[in-house]
Amino acid sequence: MALSIAYLAVIAALASAVIALGSNFRRNDVTRTLPFLLLGASGVAAVAAGGWALLDNLKLTQQLALGLPWMHWHLRLDALSGFFFAVVGILLVAVSFYGPAYVREFESSKQPLSVLGLFTGLFATGMLLVLLADDAFAFMVAWELMSVSSYFLVTYQHQNAPNRRAGFLYLLMAHVGALAILLGFGVLASFGGNFTFDAMRAATLTPLWASIAFALAFFGFGMKAGLVPVHAWLPEAHPVAPSHISALMSGVMLKVAVYGFIRVTYDLVGDIQWQWGLAVLIVGTASALLGVLYTLMQSDLKRLLAYSSVENIGIIFMGLGLSMIFLGTHHPVLGVIGLIAALYHVLNHAVFKGLLFLGAGAVLYRTHERDLEHLGGLIHRMPVTAALFLVGCISISALPPFNGFVSEWLTFQAALQTPKLESGVLRAILPIAAALLALTGALAAAAFVKVYGVAFLGKARDRRAAHAREVPAGMLIGMGMLALLCLVLGILPTTVIDVIDAVPQLLIGQAPPSLTAHGWLWLTPVSADIASYSAPLVLAAIVMTFFIGRLLLRRNANPIRYSAPWDCGFGPLNSRMQYTAAAFAQPIRRVFGGVWKVQEQVEVAHASAPATLVSGVRHQLHISDWSWIKLYEPIGSLVLTGARHIGRLHSGHIRTYLMYTFGTLLLLLWIVT
């Protein structure tokens, strides 16, 4: 039953693709809205199926007569896939509200909407199928379907060169990652006998081969998830897609990669070694830290959000790494806490990153401007969007009582259980990771103060920002839904975790010990006197103090007077005098210098009359990613050099070619005799 609901979700997504293709022929509101309706339906079905699977901890399997004659597609819906199903569903629903109004923007553009709709539908189909797949072949098919369709979405506005470049890079990375994953499956299958996941589960690998399989999966899925240093495609590809697609990609597609990683590592490979966990933890920490540092330096709103996805994926992998370390050292209980933290952050990041990308889309929709330096003062022009975006910012900055804080708190708690470990080295390393996580959180807060302060507060820096209007209701509903979720997930963690419990029960065979032992009010990871957090009370207290304060103070107060801000006596301030995004990040740029490749140049123009008088200053700043210079460009040039050398073979002289034939013949004859 639940499985058939899941099918319903897939079919609805597929149908939306087909209908969108049909909409090529007659354009009107129906053909624009219908695909999104179906997408929404698919989302609802996905949430339903996923929720069901989680609540009842189902384990449903089925075979479809697709694929190879002797290897049909195996499908399976269990708690893990159910959880991710729900995550995907939530965002699909939000997008289905948001989309119809948003895509109006593209009706004027040269690309037909039908293409957008078609690949959006296929994209959703692909993601849902990946979650359902229960054998390597179906998995790879669905996986690549997801990659390819999202690639076409990235290149949707292919008239501008960055999109083309990003698209190529993205597809290449996706393909390389997929090949690694395929190889990983191959290793598992060669032990398991065939390519069904059941066989792989049953297989027992030698530690070496297990590590190889794990490494391949880690590389492949990490590449898709955007871990440092193979993240470079992500900030290129995500920003250039239409915003609701960016929301899906950053919010959900990366999570599908996380799903793949969890599925392979926890479920298929089996007995985890703590060294893997350490590797994951280190890579995750690096991604989190570098991700947020790069986030801080961006001035393109969507690019900034994309980099912050790298950061959050890093946090998720930190949680997974901790959990793997604990599992590897036989502390299943603690392993569960880490896993729960990671999963919870998966959910949270999907929600708030979706919200933020949709918000960025709303800004783009009205101002057609992605560069922070040209925005400003939107809180006056688009109050609702501003409020919703603020919720997103608070959540992603991990501030209580919103959802981002809960998952980070859980991660901290997991990290603080190190005294239970035998190895002193691990005991020393884990808290450092936790401290770096703290640094990440603080920098993230700084980054989003910058985003919000520059884009929404202050004065408009640009005519288009000054004349922005609030976006249509549909888009607001889409965002509002997610904003509400941010709050709910923030104040009812215990309830949510009660639902997520099914996943660790499935993977580790162990329910979280006492996370929710003290009722919905108290979140207690290990035990009550080790740590506890009561989000509802925190919220209550904040609200209470807030209103009491206002009541006490607003009594018989005179009306507020408005006047010009302090201008040091130099006459009125204008919007050019505001702090810019680059200026905001400048101290951090100096503190962490060397993390980026910074090219900064200041040109001072002197006035003619007195040479000392400065007539204008021009400041240019270009921040580039080391991973380009150190990793990608060398590989690329390597291939090109190889190609050039190979090219020499083709001299164009027929006698040379004859010589090849002759030589080959003689060589072979000599070999065989």
């Binding site: 001299s651 164009g652 006698r655 010589m659 034939t661």
Partner: protein
């Protein structure tokens, strides 16, 4: 085996085979087009003789047919066509300098040894009287390739190609007393058509690069790109 114990025909056969090999070397050594063609014609003729002798000693009547075929095709028709073409393209008297001719001949000798070395295991199997000539036939093929590699004139290359065909036919005759008739005919037909096409191409090449020097045809390469 000692030659004396063989019948006169056998000895004649071996002599002819040796001469076929010799003509290959002649082709390798001649710089002018015309003697090249003549050498090739001689090779064809000798081949026909060999075939006839084989037919005689191993009383395979159908080999007479292929002997005639060879004579007509390889010794008369194709050389005539080549001669006529080169006359019309007036390259009959062109001289193509051969780089290190002595090296060429040494290389040729090496090839003969190599083919002997390769062919020995086969020879041991065979019970045919002509088995020792298998190595020779393979040598003729390899020498033909060497000729094609060493010459840059289109005509010379065609001659080399045809002498490879000769070698093949030679091999077929001496190793298996010829292929089934239908195959023989098919091969003959193919060779003829090929020759006609070569003729067409000579003019096309001439028209496009007004020379028959294949080394000047190197537009299509990966280097310039």
């Amino acid at each position: 085996m000692n030659l004396a114990s063989l019948s006169l025909y056998h000895q004649a056969l071996l002599v002819a085979a040796a001469l076929v090999l010799f003509t290959s070397f002649m082709m390798l050594a001649t710089a002018r087009i015309r003697p090249l063609i003549f050498a090739f014609a001689w090779q064809g003729a000798l081949l026909a003789i060999v075939t006839a002798l084989v037919a005689l000693v191993s009383n395979h009547p159908h080999l007479y047919v292929s002997a005639l075929l060879t004579l007509g095709l390889k010794a008369l028709l194709i050389p005539w066509m080549l001669h006529r073409l080169s006359a019309r393209l007036n390259i009959l008297h062109e001289v193509e300098p051969i780089m290190h001719p002595s090296m060429m001949l040494v290389a040729g000798a090496m090839l003969v040894i190599f083919s002997y070395y390769v062919a020995t295991p086969i020879v041991h199997l065979s019970t045919l009287v002509t088995r020792n000539t298998i190595a020779v036939s393979m040598a003729v093929i390899l020498l033909g390739m060497l000729l094609m590699v060493s010459r840059s004139k289109a005509v010379a290359q065609v001659v080399g190609f045809m002498s490879i065909e000769n070698g093949l036919f030679f091999a077929a005759v001496v190793s298996t007393y010829g292929m089934p008739m239908i195959v023989e005919l098919g091969i003959a037909f193919d060779v003829l058509v090929a020759m006609v096409l070569f003729g067409v191409f000579f003019f096309q090449i001439r028209a496009s690069i007004d020379s028959l020097d294949v080394d000047r045809m190197n537009r299509l390469s990966e280097k310039n790109e």
